[in-house]
Symmetry: C2
């Protein structure tokens, strides 16, 4: 899934990397408003990026999975304007943000990769925006579950069984921009249509094709990707 490194790039990464950080399920990795000195790459586990309105309403923006970077916005633009929370235990690779420009000077290939990763995130956000703006509740839910499942599968992230996505309905609601109650009723419709099944804190994808067809989603359409 990931492209190979040049030897010298690998050497540089070793020096760029300042350590590993292990975080627990449920803990907050980065907080909105912070000026973090760090930049991370996800090595294992997964989590989500979110923003809050002043009155506490929460919107989940996207999920972070192995190979994704977190904190790039903070590193480049100065201040984090979203938070990140772990959905499972996560292992992060830690970089110093001050070394970032050094990477751009010495390793244009890696610099290019970072831009590639940022562009890919942008593309996912575009799709999520389309979903929130123009898809109905059931289309949105179908898209989201297909999307998460596809991404998780492509990086080998798995819950108990191969097709399982371990997530609470509250998280799904906050991603879809729906209330918890309506999310529950929507998920029930997907279950009735035999597209998914729900088992104890997680969703099992029963018919990926069906979900994609229902939501009008084309799939990830991704080739080999860089890893940092």
């Amino acid at each position: 899934m990931f492209r190979d490194f040049e030897d010298q790039e690998l050497d540089f990464i070793s020096t760029f990397k300042t350590g590993e950080l292990s975080v627990e399920k449920g803990s907050t990795v980065l907080v909105e408003g912070n000026h973090s000195a760090h930049l991370y790459t996800v090595l294992s586990g997964w989590g989500f990026r979110y923003k809050l309105l002043p009155d506490g309403r929460r919107q989940i923006l996207n999920f972070v999975m192995p190979g994704d970077m977190i904190g790039l916005q903070g590193s480049l633009l100065g201040e984090m304007q979203h938070s990140v929370e772990a959905l499972s235990p996560m292992l992060l690779c830690v970089f110093e943000r001050d070394n970032l420009f050094g990477l751009y000077r010495k390793h244009p290939g890696l610099a290019f990769d970072i831009t590639w990763i940022a562009s890919r995130e942008e593309r996912m956000l575009d799709e999520n925006l389309l979903s929130l703006g123009r898809r109905s509740a059931i289309e949105r839910a179908a898209y989201l579950l297909a999307f998460i499942h596809s991404r998780a599968k492509s990086v080998g992230l798995k819950g108990g069984s191969p097709n399982e996505v371990a997530i609470s309905q509250q998280h799904i609601a906050d991603t879809l921009g729906l209330s918890l109650v309506h999310t529950n009723k929507t998920i029930r419709k997907l279950i009735d249509r035999k597209l998914i099944s729900w088992r104890d804190r997680g969703c099992e994808i029963a018919d990926l094709e069906g979900l994609m067809k229902l939501s009008g989603w084309e799939g990830l359409r991704e080739d080999k990707r860089p890893l940092l």
Copy 2:
């Protein structure tokens, strides 16, 4: 508003730049599904990025204004997954996508700038996503108009009068993820509250503070930015 170039960077940009493209109001600059060989920077005018669902529903993702890049996703990831249309006559600076990696090799400062620009776009999308997911119709409209107005002002883009935003209600509806009719009624509420006024194909901001307060939006919070 924009940071200064180094001399050598300026030289390189001249060679990187392969020409200028002038497009009319209403014309489509880039089409979803295309493998464009070009990458653009907006020199003047403005437009919007959008995606369509198979059945024709349209969602406007964000607006492009002077200093923004368009087509970066296509250049890096292979295929455009959104389209771009001009809202006014636009002048674009054209680059060859094949030269992009050369830029990364020879001018890390410019490469860094491109990533900076991509990160900034990501941040705007995050905010729009929060809006679509968690803000009510009137809050969304207030946020959108304040947002467009702030951005336009910071790059010196103006319609007839200094506080005017020239846009149709259909475009606003497609950005907010609302129907045209409901958008109209929502705008009317903003007018009744004396936050804006509407005049013939455009909106005049009467009370920016009021719009920001209503939507719970903090403003752009941007410093000096790079330009390519």
